[in-house]
């Protein structure tokens, strides 16, 4: 169903996985640019610490736990796909999507509280970065969930099982970004 070009592997890495690594290179510099800007601003603005104190560390920590857990189920999906068990892989992928869903729900509750307290994106430098960075991350979570549902649908029919690993790598990256966002936005006060 696809060109011969796609099946070649001159570099010794399957085409899909190679592409995911390059996607991650581009993602590193997108998040890198945003976070580098945030960090240099944060260091220069001692007064942002008082603003950061209004964030909910427990919600952030819980979300970290949720994402770590969803990453775990993503590797289980990969393991199942490697064993050729597409149905099992699809189940684990959907579990991962569920994790992403919980993450987003917690995030929206958290944001609702903050907005009610008057901390909106216009409320100053810290909040601008807070909502933008977390929002960009959440956008990646949503994108990952959509792709994962699509991959799960084909994995269930035991098709394109290699995609399970590829989407997993992307998901772990989203997890890693959150691992850095959590201390940057919630802990450093």
């Amino acid at each position: 169903m696809r060109p011969i070009a796609t099946t070649r592997s001159a570099m010794g890495i399957p085409t899909g996985r190679l592409a995911v690594w390059w996607v991650l290179v581009s993602e590193i510099v997108i998040f890198g640019g945003l976070l580098a800007s945030y960090v240099m601003n944060r260091i220069a603005h001692a007064e942002w610490g008082a603003q950061a104190a209004h964030t909910n560390t427990w919600a952030g920590a819980f979300n970290t736990l949720v994402l770590l857990t969803s990453s775990l189920s993503a590797v289980f999906a990969h393991q199942a796909a490697e064993g050729g068990d597409g149905r099992r892989a699809a189940r684990f992928l959907r579990l991962t999507v569920l994790g992403g869903g919980i993450f987003l729900v917690v995030k929206s509750i958290e944001w609702t509280h903050e907005i009610r307290e008057g901390f909106v994106i216009q409320s100053g430098g810290f909040w601008s970065y807070y909502y933008t960075a977390a929002g960009l991350h959440a956008f990646h979570v949503i994108a990952g969930m959509c792709v994962m549902l699509w991959v799960a649908a084909s994995a269930e029919r035991n098709q394109d099982l290699h995609r399970v690993e590829n989407v997993g790598i992307y998901w772990h990256f989203v997890d890693v970004v959150w691992i850095f966002l959590f201390p940057l936005l919630y802990i450093a006060k």
Binding site: P3, A5, V29, S37, Q122, S128, L136
Partner: protein, 573 residues
């Protein structure tokens, strides 16, 4: 899955009739919904060339305004200051983002990479189609941005905040946001395309094609894509931040509320400088292909060229702040960036020397593509050496943001986006359309472009040295610049531009007539080595009935002891 992909797989089993099945699909599906890399490449190329006409028209309007200030410009009318700013802004954005990028990287890259490495298509054909569709969408958004209320964005292609961020300052609330969205969409399109180029070139090379058997053009497009990918990220983040500043009222770049406008400048130029090399490298690649063919010469020191390309690519990430020497950055940083900027002359000079050395011992035919390639070298050298005045911090104090800068970067960008592109178009035209372009009119077009080109930009060097600053719609307010002598120079530049634009119609007519009426082209009209010339002209869907193998490097011309002076890569030893 589209029909094209279905028919395509069967094409491999290779009954001849399989290709015919492909032609039965509708005209729309074939040309607008195709996943074939050749169609997508041509889509990119033709869209880019049409945008070049738009950008050229804008240049015509504002040059006319400069030569004859306040008078009605034929075909446009009287230019207001706001329109003038809009025109220069969009001329710059269009020529870089919607002409140089799509034609050089996406156009030639899509068309040639699979053919040059002996593959039947890109590795992700549907991603490729999505890339073009996003690009096309960005064109539509850009066009919309010019048509909305209060007019298009006029804050220069660099879009420095607070001017770009605050509608109270730029007076174009819709235009500036739409412009930014268009640029961001274009970035995403090229990220998708870039991933495709990189992975295809890495993984899908013909059996036997080692890394150092890959044509220089493929190398340059891949390295350019990697550079684009590695540099554009911070600007994508910056574009989101600027968009929020514009529309939501955040304070990323707002100096009155804890932001810093200089952050945008850094994010922009961290991308903006590598971007110069992103478009330069594919141009150098095209020139390498054309020069070796028409000099019947092996490329002088192939590996050195690769290393200088990589060296240039790496170094170009270390020089960005030379665009900001006088922008309010810490003056101590300027010294570091002066050193790195001057250092970049090392790989670039080496690259130019190697290209010139390639001519040594050749048997040079001055066909139209070769004239363009040699024209590129001759003119690009001017752009290269004048860059030193700007990279050296001491003289940049004077030259920054004068017409000297404009002349300098047009001596680099024009050779890149027009001269090298023309070299490529005339060279690969027989492959793309199966017909040959007219040589005589090709040469008329060459001389009719290259002579007025110098007529436009040499006066601008002089104007820059006189202290004429950029983006001014009328110099009446500056007595030292409002002299008859400088006015005459402006007029010479404008008239040269009009002459040059007139000669482009020669190309358009030659292109269209040759496309439908030109003499049929054989498979390998230039007796070239690289794999694309072993496919039919134009190549069918799937490119080859049986994909070729590779047995040697791409530049084995005039090998002693062989009757023919070329040695195709797929020919068995």
């Amino acid at each position: 899955m589209t029909g094209s992909e279905m028919s395509h797989t069967t094409a491999h089993a290779h009954p001849e009739g399989a290709h015919d099945a492909h032609h039965e699909q509708g005209w729309f599906l074939k040309y607008f919904w195709s996943t074939d890399h050749k169609i997508i490449g041509l889509q990119y190329m033709l869209t880019g060339m049409l945008m070049a006409l738009v950008g050229a028209f804008m240049a015509y309007v504002f040059r006319m305004q400069l030569a004859f200030p306040g008078q009605s410009v034929p075909g446009f009318g009287v230019v207001t200051p706001g329109q003038y700013n809009m025109l220069v802004t969009n001329h710059g954005s269009i020529m870089i983002f919607w002409v140089a990028m799509p034609v050089l990287i996406a156009g030639f890259g899509n068309y040639l990479i699979p053919l040059m490495i002996g593959a039947d298509d890109m590795v992700f054909p549907r991603l490729n189609r999505l890339s073009y569709q996003l690009f096309f969408l960005s064109v539509l958004v850009l066009a919309t941005s010019l048509a909305v209320q209060n007019g298009g964005f006029g804050g220069a292609w660099t879009a420095y905040p607070p001017l770009s961020a605050n509608k109270a300052y730029n007076l174009t609330p819709l235009g500036s946001s739409l412009w930014l969205v268009a640029v961001a969409l274009e970035f995403v399109a090229f990220l998708l395309g870039g991933i495709n180029f990189i992975v295809t070139s890495m993984n899908s090379r013909a059996p036997g094609m080692k890394a150092f058997d890959v044509p220089i053009l493929v190398w340059t497009i891949v390295i350019a894509s990697v550079m684009f990918m590695a540099s554009v990220g911070p600007l994508i983040a910056g574009a989101v931040m600027l968009l929020f500043d514009q529309t939501l009222g955040t304070s990323f770049f707002n100096p009155t509320r804890g932001g810093d406008p200089i952050l945008w400048q850094h994010l922009f130029w961290f991308f903006g400088h590598p971007e110069v090399y992103v478009v330069l490298l594919p141009a150098m690649g095209i020139v390498a292909e054309v020069m070796t063919v028409f000099a019947r010469k092996k490329l002088f020191a192939y590996k050195t060229v690769i290393y200088t390309i990589i060296g240039t690519a790496m170094l170009s990430f270390f020089v960005w702040a030379h665009h900001q020497f006088v922008a309010g950055i810490d003056p101590r940083m300027a010294n570091i960036f002066t050193v790195t900027t001057v250092l970049i002359s090392i790989p670039i000079a080496e690259m130019c020397f190697v290209y010139i050395a390639t001519l040594y011992g050749g048997s040079i035919t001055l066909s139209t593509p070769m004239l363009w390639a040699l024209g590129f070298m001759a003119e690009f050298l001017v752009g290269g050496v004048t860059g030193i005045y700007l990279g050296a911090s001491g003289t940049d104090i004077f030259f920054h943001d004068t017409y000297f800068v404009i002349a300098h970067f047009h001596y680099t960008f024009f050779p890149i986006a027009i001269i090298a592109t023309m070299s490529g178009v005339t060279f690969w035209f027989p492959k793309m359309f199966g017909r040959t372009m007219n040589e005589f009119w090709g040469k008329v077009h060459f001389w009719g472009t290259i002579i007025p080109f110098n007529g436009i930009f040499i006066p601008l060097f002089v104007l820059g040295a006189a202290g004429e600053h950029r983006r001014i719609f009328d110099y009446h307010n500056f007595p030292h610049l409002d002299t008859p002598g400088l006015g005459m120079l402006r007029m010479i530049a404008t008239l040269s531009l009009v002459v040059m634009l007139a000669f482009q119609f020669v190309f358009i007519v030659n292109f269209l007539v040759s496309m439908f009426r030109g003499p049929r082209a054989p498979r390998n009209p230039w007796r070239s080595n690289t794999l694309e010339w072993t496919a039919d002209s134009p190549p069918p869907h799937g490119n080859w009935p049986v994909l070729p193998d590779c047995h040697r490097g791409p530049y084995e011309y005039s090998v002693p002891g062989r009757e023919q002076d070329f040695w195709p890569q797929d020919e068995k030893a």
